[in-house]
């Protein structure tokens, strides 16, 4: 296995170079066009297109007797286009929805393809084996001539994407607006669809009709996790696809009978899984962390608010867990645990077995109480809710109110009800209790 790895990495073998370059091109173009296909919600159409290409390959061979890649790809392209048109025809003129139409066309064309392939194989017309590689792909069968075809197609695709990037972006985001600007959205769409067709054709020989759609979809979906702008997404997706192609080829070179195409797809899938879990902001871990932060902020707010409300009522600034628990309607043990956590974070401190707010905790607590009461006033006086329904929404929203909203609320409450916002909260009273009670 080590021998194989070294042989691969030295790139001494021309065949290795061909296969590596081919896989890299397939992955990169798939990733690039995939970004547009996925965002345009055309990924399934790409799958249907690939499956529909199979009978085209068989018919091209039957018609010409040639197994040259360009000939077979022309057949594949024509059949793929017929398949896509069939889907469009079905969705436009019947009541069948797009997903069913795609399913029907995909399976019918694929079925015909299999029948034709079987027929060719059994007809015994000499060297008939080899067409079935289009089913699951056979990267090792790529030769120099094939590479020329694939490289040219890739060059066309990439140049077209560079040229029409702006048009594609506007088409996918807002086709109606693109038309209103004087561009023909139909033409831009047809162009994009054409490029997707070419992309599928590039990968047909090495990855096969069954799996090629994965090279269109997976890198793009993985890239979306890492990017908030289309340009970044296209670049990341292209790199993911290219790397998946190269790594897949390397892995399959390590031992005989590891198929390249499927391994490429698996590597791309690995990128997807890692992205879905680890990506900043959109990844599962980041979302879980955000969720936890929100939850713990809410807990903190409850604690601090109860503390400030109690100090307001009882005119002192130190409370045992049991008093806070009564105010919150919680178990004392829960208050105790939360108190210890908040003490570590510097919001509260222990004082003779009871809890006292630090400067930081007090400031935030007063802000929360103020938000809560202002919001209650607002809801109540705007008659949005009856008095006994006010508290719960206020509880929920107080964690979200920003200082700007609070300032605005203060204005409204002061203006409409003639209420001095300071009195609403009675901060100064509370503050003085603190000065007297807690801080000496």
């Amino acid at each position: 296995m080590l021998d194989n790895a070294l042989r691969f990495l030295s790139l001494a073998d021309a065949n290795v170079r061909f296969v590596l370059l081919g896989s890299l091109l397939i992955g990169a173009t798939g990733g690039m066009l995939g970004s547009f296909a996925v965002l345009r919600r055309r990924s399934l159409l790409g799958d249907a297109l690939a499956h529909a290409a199979l009978p085209g390959v068989a018919l091209a061979y039957l018609a010409t007797g040639s197994k040259a890649l360009p000939v077979l790809l022309v057949g594949a392209t024509l059949a793929g286009i017929v398949g896509v048109l069939a889907i469009q025809f079905i969705t436009q003129f019947t009541r069948i929805k797009a997903d069913s139409a795609i399913g029907i066309v995909l399976s019918v064309f694929f079925g015909i393809g299999i029948v034709l392939l079987t027929h060719i194989q059994r007809s015994g017309s000499g060297n008939q084996s080899g067409l079935d590689k289009f089913l699951f792909g056979q990267a090792a069968s790529m030769v120099g001539d094939d590479l020329v075809v694939m490289t040219s197609l890739t060059a066309i695709i990439m140049l077209a994407v560079l040229a029409f990037y702006k048009e594609f972006k506007a088409l996918i985001f807002d086709p109606g607006f693109l038309s209103a600007l004087g561009f023909s959205a139909r033409r831009v769409d047809a162009l994009l669809m054409g490029l997707i067709v070419l992309t599928v054709m590039v990968g047909l020989q090495a990855v096969g009709v069954v799996l090629i759609a994965a090279m269109l979809i997976t890198p793009a979906v993985a890239a979306r996790f890492w990017s908030e702008r289309l340009g970044t997404m296209v670049v990341v997706s292209t790199v993911f696809g290219g790397v998946a192609g190269a790594v897949g080829t390397f892995i399959s070179s390590l031992a005989p009978r590891i198929p390249t195409g499927p391994v490429m797809v698996l590597v791309a899938t690995l990128f997807f899984v890692v992205s879905a879990i680890c990506a900043p902001r959109r990844g599962a871990l980041a979302r879980w962390r955000r969720h936890r932060q929100n939850a713990s902020r809410e807990q903190r707010h409850h604690f601090l608010r109860a503390h400030v409300e109690l100090s307001d009522k009882e005119r002192r600034g130190i409370f045992a867990s049991s008093s806070l628990a009564a105010e919150l309607g919680w178990k004392a043990s829960r208050v105790e645990r939360l108190g210890r956590k908040l003490a570590r974070q510097g919001y509260v401190r222990r004082s003779g077995g009871r809890w006292e707010l630090t400067e930081k905790g007090f400031e935030e607590g007063v802000f929360i109480v103020k938000s809560h009461r202002l919001w209650e006033h607002y809801l109540y006086h705007r008659s949005i809710l009856d008095a006994d329904h006010v508290d719960r929404p206020a509880d929920e929203v107080e964690h979200l109110l920003t200082p700007e909203i609070i300032a605005h609320l203060e204005e409204i409450v002061a203006e409409e009800r003639g209420i001095n916002p300071d009195q609403v909260v009675n901060i100064h009273g509370t503050l003085s209790h603190y000065r007297k009670g807690g801080r000496e």
């Binding site: 985001f173 109606g176 561009f183 908030e228 289309l230």
Partner: protein, 263 residues
């Protein structure tokens, strides 16, 4: 149409002649005959399914006409596309698309940029300026899904401003926005009007019609009435437009009551 609604001496920015729109051969908007004068703020009102969006989309050739024609400043629409700025309904796009606010506004310049070429520095400057005009400068690099509904609507308005057009078509720009955004949008519309631009706005809130619009087009699958608001926004026309739909009717009655109280 009465003489008072004809543009005086000038060529009308929008002339619609005998326009009928059909979906699957079923007409949804019949025989629209209309000249909209220059420099007015026009509200298009009518119940759901009255053909309000359909009308502006048909004017902009976004949906096919069954019959009739539209002229923009007396020329075919095809030659005048760049004269029209467009604000589609906010729900018509996927806001999770990976672009930031400035990217979206820059799309308003694409018509001037043309096929294949890239937007220039000047285009970027104009886009930033449009974003500033709607008070969204500080959100320029924010991904659009992280904007509130009102902010998204402002971005759409900025994109239309970046088109630098003479006529603006807006499909429910006030739908689902906060009061501050509504105020900001109407201020911009008024400013556009003062620059001699003509603005057509699909509108839902009958209460604000008299306050916002100098002209009103009342639709219910046909033009029930069109003209200066004070002349055509009458009890009788509201009945004709919304007749038979109780909830809307009561809304209309309320609007009329407010209208009379205010004048």
């Amino acid at each position: 149409m009465s003489d008072s609604v004809r543009p005086q001496g000038e060529v009308a920015p929008i002339q619609i002649h005998d326009m009928t729109i059909a979906y699957h051969k079923k007409p949804v908007l019949w025989d629209v005959d209309l000249d909209v004068p220059e420099g007015v703020l026009v509200g298009i009102i009518g119940p759901n399914g009255a053909g309000k969006s359909t009308m502006i989309k048909a004017v902009m050739d976004l949906i096919p006409k069954a019959s009739g024609w539209v002229k923009i400043y007396d020329r075919p629409y095809d030659q005048m596309r760049s004269a029209i700025g467009y604000v589609p309904q906010r729900e018509s796009v996927d806001w999770d698309f990976p672009v930031n606010a400035l990217d979206v506004v820059l799309m308003g310049r694409y018509g001037h940029v043309g096929w294949v070429r890239r937007p220039s520095g000047e285009d970027r400057r104009l886009a930033a300026e449009a974003l500033d005009k709607v008070g969204m400068s500080e959100y320029a690099h924010r991904q659009i899904s992280q904007l509130s509904g009102g902010q998204q609507q402002r971005v759409f308005l900025a994109r239309a401003l970046a088109q630098d057009a003479r006529i603006y078509m807006m499909d429910e720009p006030f739908a689902g926005v906060d009061a501050a955004t509504e105020r900001a949008i109407i201020d911009i519309l008024i400013e556009l009007r003062s620059q001699g631009k003509t603005i057509l706005v699909v509108h839902h809130d009958l209460q604000t019609v008299t306050e916002y619009f100098d002209w009103v087009i009342m639709l219910n699958m046909r033009v029930v009435a069109a003209g200066p608001t004070r002349e055509v926004f009458t009890d009788e026309n509201l009945q004709k437009t919304y007749g038979g739909r109780l909830t809307v009717l009561s809304q209309a009655a309320q609007a009329m009551a407010d209208h009379r109280r205010g004048h």
